[in-house]
């Protein structure tokens, strides 16, 4: 049930979706396991992911039309579902990445100046 732990899911949700989009943009079509591994590696193992949560993110992105999915065969001959970024997905990634940068910049500024800034 989502409402059983809303705070955690919500926080993860936005960021995880962004990471998934970015991974697909960087590597091209990839299966869920590959995406999860890549996020762990790219973040220098800083993100400790319950890999299972990636699938909720994938289905959500798929329903929004930002990624598409297709069954295929992996390098070592395993059947796997491959996800690829769509056109709208690429636009969305750009937008979300920009938003993210703006938000982190603002938060960074506020955190860097804990005594000032109120009222400005």
């Amino acid at each position: 049930m989502p409402h059983d732990h809303p705070a955690r899911v919500d926080l993860l949700q936005g960021t995880l979706d962004l990471l998934v989009l970015q991974t697909l943009d960087a590597l091209g079509p990839l299966h869920g396991f590959g995406i999860a591994r890549r996020i762990e590696q790219a973040s220098g193992q800083a993100v400790l992911l319950n890999q299972g949560t990636i699938y909720a993110s994938l289905v959500r992105l798929q329903q929004r039309g930002w990624i598409s999915a297709e069954w295929g065969t992996s390098d070592n001959n395993r059947r796997a579902k491959y996800y690829a970024l769509t056109k709208t997905g690429r636009k969305q990634l750009e937008k979300e990445a920009n938003d993210w940068r703006r938000v982190t910049a603002v938060i960074g500024r506020v955190l860097a100046n804990p005594h000032g800034g109120s009222g400005q």
Partner: protein, 877 residues
């Protein structure tokens, strides 16, 4: 916005395709695990270790599936289906409980569906015509007056039609069609039919199109135009076997050829809208040129221009009348116009009854809710341990409440499904009334709207009955139940109090219903024991088609011969001719005092043209003077008989015999008879005037026959005796005069039978409620009773105590109910007749009946309490 919609569509699709999506996710996760294992094996882990690591990293298979479902589907709806599934399982474990609960709910919800269907047809739904909300009824006087007072002469209709600004069009029908007789002949078969004259564009104005053929064309509607008729669907089937070739066929109507040009659709029922209980077979263009001289004959129906309100039209017509009278002085006093919505005219008088009916059935539903809530509380109490365990295992209170509500909703939806056949049966019963003055009954049906209303009622009911026991569960004291033994706890006391409260409510509601039904019953009995001025038992009427194209004298002779032959049939006590009947066809004339200079010096009377022996046949007492006789002839002194009210109005305190009145021509009063009820059973203030057909000529011909034994056995012989004179008599119905009384009392009978049925249902449910609570209470107190008996209490004492408790519940309920009933009685006082709203017999009778029923319901558990074995009760500890 579009994005939101698309996601909702995806989510709904995912919710529906739950199983295939789950399977796909399963294979996706399996492939994920396989790849993870491959990787760990490549890095040198053993196969077991690789499997363990892969699962660890995935972080809970089930939770991944759950999250996936939440992300893609409709999590709330998922939870609801889960709750419903759980409720289904738990109800299936107790089929007996479920069956009783569903049966009770079916009763309450089915009755509500049926009443909704009736109210929907009579009040809510528009009349079955195009843009029916723009149709208006225009009348000179209210419905309590006779037809003559409501209708208009042809010239007034024409003037209104030309002068008014607020109507798109104005049409009319000949309101006295009951006086008209038509013999329809095609081939060698003749049949008596009932026909209505219509002013041009009648069907066009209502928006009725023929099912076959066409409507009238101008050549048929103009004076002396081509003779044409449109027939009803019923006549088409009855007489022509539904033959499509009937359109264009020439038949004979009263010896003149006429062409059938159209057949009306099956759902067009002229009578159920304009003249409930009548039969109308065919329609013809009105001969307006001839009807000009007939006085007030036309009932007016108009269609408002778009955007014009009924009130605006009413104020226009209020000034239109005087203006028309100035132009045409002949219309003096005949242009008063009240404009009302046609719907209000048709079913407005039924409104108070329907409100009562609806309230009654709502009461029944409330009692059903109380009953069910009480049953569910008992069930919750029995499941206290189970619920407490589930809460201890982490089930949220909200979730538990939701599950109880789901149980309630599931039960009431099942009840609604089981109640729908009941609703169909009830509406069929209501529609089966052949002799009725209730309008639009033919339109009553359990339709889609009724089913939606039913579903709504069911869901609300379900939420209410589920939430009442659920509130306590979620209030938190439940967890204490794990520690306690579920006996003598605060919970069970609280449950007992709540259930007692519900039972008291049930008794109070039932007593309000019973008092209401009792008052209606007493009114009905009071009305039926009234003296209506005539004795309807063993009298039948038959319409006789007069031969066409003969002189007045010949017609009189014919009528005399009919009455003579009928009277001669063995088993017939008396027979006579009349053209009108009490509580039926009526027309009103002004009766003036001869010699008076004042113009308004007279009285409005219902006019009858009758033959000798009518009063004896109908059982109307002649209080002074003499009856008409065969000696009253065209050449002898013109005579009349008047009723008491007319005599009193014209010559208060004086002997009217021998005085002269005028109905246009001067006549001498030779007799006085009792008044008969004319427009309704309730209204005793109607004056009549009777003229002999031997002097004024028979118009429509009705024969009334009083028989010695039951009319059914004599009717065939009468028919056979008249056959040689009137060939159509073989196909004509003999109508018992009792039917007139039955029709006039049908709205009361309808209301009484339904409210009576509902109140008995309420009584039975209250009885069940009392039984349930008292027996549960006894079961709860088994140990206590056992202890007390071991300490010397007698079984008699225990029984009396249980009965005393029952009586207390009943007494509180009856007192509350009596107060409520007093209010209800005041509200329905307009529907009562000859009965006081505080009728002591009804109130005391209801209270006594309820107390007795309560004692009866409490008797079984009281006996059970008395039979408690102290030892076994204590061992059960």
């Amino acid at each position: 916005m579009i994005d939101t919609l698309r996601r909702l569509a995806h989510r709904t699709a995912a919710f529906v395709r739950r199983d295939p999506l789950d399977r796909e996710l399963d294979s996706e996760l399996a492939s994920h695990l396989a790849m993870a294992e491959d990787e760990h094996v490549r890095r040198g882990a053993s196969p077991e270790e690789a499997r363990r690591l892969a699962r660890l990293e995935l972080g809970g298979y089930d939770s991944a599936v759950e999250r996936h479902r939440d992300a893609r589907g409709l999590p709330t709806l998922d939870a609801v289906t889960q709750d419903l599934r759980y409720a289904m399982r738990s109800l299936r474990r107790e089929p007996g409980f479920a069956a009783i609960a569903i049966a009770i709910l079916a009763l309450g919800i089915g009755a509500n569906t049926a009443v909704f269907s009736i109210v929907n047809a009579l009040v809510l739904r528009p009349l079955p015509f195009r843009d029916a909300d723009r149709l208006v009824w225009i009348t000179q006087a209210s419905e309590t007056e006779g037809l003559s007072a409501q209708t208009y002469p042809v010239a007034a209709y024409q003037a209104f039609r030309h002068e008014n600004q607020s109507l798109e069009d104005l049409t009319a029908y000949f309101a006295f069609f009951g006086y008209m007789d038509f013999a329809l002949a095609s081939g060698n078969q003749a049949e008596h039919v009932s026909g209505v004259y219509l002013v041009p564009r009648f069907f066009e104005l209502l928006g009725v199109s023929p099912a076959r053929g066409r409507l009238f064309v101008p050549e048929e509607e103009r004076p002396n135009g081509r003779a044409a008729a449109i027939i009803s669907d019923a006549l088409w089937h009855r007489r022509f076997g539904g033959d499509p070739a009937v359109v264009g066929r020439s038949v004979t109507l009263n010896n003149a050829p006429i062409t059938i040009v159209g057949v009306l659709p099956e759902d067009f029922d002229f009578a159920s809208v304009f003249s409930p209980g009548a039969r109308v077979d065919l329609f013809m263009p009105a001969p307006l040129d001839t009807m000009k001289d007939w006085g007030n004959t036309l009932a007016l129906v108009g269609r408002l221009k778009p955007g014009i309100t009924t009130e605006a039209a009413a104020s226009e017509f209020a000034v239109l009348g005087p203006r028309i009278e100035k132009l045409q002085p002949a219309l003096q006093g005949r242009t008063h116009a009240q404009v009302s919505a046609l719907k209000a005219h048709v079913s407005g008088s039924m409104r108070p009854m329907l409100v009562v009916l609806w309230a009654a059935v709502a009461f029944v539903l409330l009692i059903v809710c109380a009953n069910l809530a009480s049953l569910l509380i008992a069930r919750t109490a029995a499941r206290t341990r189970e619920i407490a365990v589930r809460m201890a295992l982490g089930a949220g209170r909200g979730r538990l409440l939701r599950q109880m509500v789901a149980e309630g909703v599931l039960l009431s939806l099942a009840g609604a499904a089981a109640g729908i056949p009941l609703a169909f049966a009830l509406t069929a019963y209501v529609k089966s009334a052949v002799v009725t003055s209730i309008p639009l009954l033919a339109q009553v049906r359990v339709d889609g709207v009724a089913l939606i209303a039913t579903a709504t009622i069911a869901i609300v009911t379900g939420v209410v009955i589920g939430a009442i026991p659920g509130i306590r569960v979620s209030s938190g004291s439940m967890s204490a139940a794990l520690k306690e033994q579920g006996r003598g706890t605060t919970d069970s006391r609280w449950h007992h109090r709540l259930r007692s409260g519900l039972v008291v409510g049930e008794i109070a509601l039932a007593s309000m219903l019973l008092v209401g039904a009792g008052l209606l019953m007493r009114s009905f009995v009071a009305l039926m024991s009234e003296n209506f001025g005539f004795r309807p038992e063993r009298v039948v009427e038959v319409r006789v088609d007069l031969p066409q194209g003969i002189s007045d004298d010949q017609r009189s002779a014919f009528a005399e011969e009919i009455a003579r032959r009928a009277a001669a049939v063995p088993g017939v006590a008396q027979a006579a001719i009349t053209d009108a009947l009490p509580l039926d066809r009526n027309r009103q004339w002004g009766l003036g005092r001869v010699g008076s200079q004042r113009k308004d010096d007279g009285v409005s009377v219902f006019l009858y043209v009758i033959g000798p022996g009518y009063f004896g046949t109908m059982g109307i007492p002649l209080t002074a003077g003499r009856d008409f006789s065969a000696a009253d002839r065209a050449k002898t002194l013109p005579v009349a008989i008047i009723s008491k009210s007319a005599a009193r109005a014209l010559w208060p305190g004086q002997d009217p015999i021998g005085r002269h009145v005028t109905t246009g021509a001067e006549v001498e009063v030779i007799g006085v008879v009792d008044d008969v009820r004319q427009t309704s059973l309730e209204d005793g203030r109607s004056a009549q005037c009777y003229l002999p057909y031997t002097q004024v000529g028979p118009a429509g011909l009705g024969l009334v026959v009083r028989t010695h034994s039951s009319p059914e056995s004599v009717v065939p012989a009468v028919r056979a005796a008249l056959m040689p004179l009137v060939p159509t008599i073989g196909t004509t119905e003999f109508r018992p005069i009792l039917q007139l009384v039955e029709r006039a009392s049908s709205p009361r009978r309808f209301l009484l039978s339904l409210v009576g049925g509902f109140s008995l249902t309420a009584l039975a449910l209250a009885c069940l409620g009392i039984y349930g609570v008292v027996s549960y209470n006894v079961a709860q107190r088994r140990q206590e009773i056992g202890v007390r008996m071991a300490l010397g209490a007698t079984s008699r004492g225990i029984s009396l105590e249980v009965l005393g408790g029952t009586l207390r519940l009943a007494a509180v309920g009856v007192v509350l109910g009596t107060v409520g009933a007093a209010i209800v009685a005041r509200l329905i006082s307009s529907l009562l007749f000859g009965t006081s709203p505080v009728d002591p017999l009804t109130f005391l009778g209801t209270a006594a009946a309820l107390v007795l029923v309560a004692l009866g319901a409490g008797a079984l558990p009281a006996l059970a309490a008395a039979r408690v074995e102290p030892m076994s009760a204590l061992r059960n500890e």
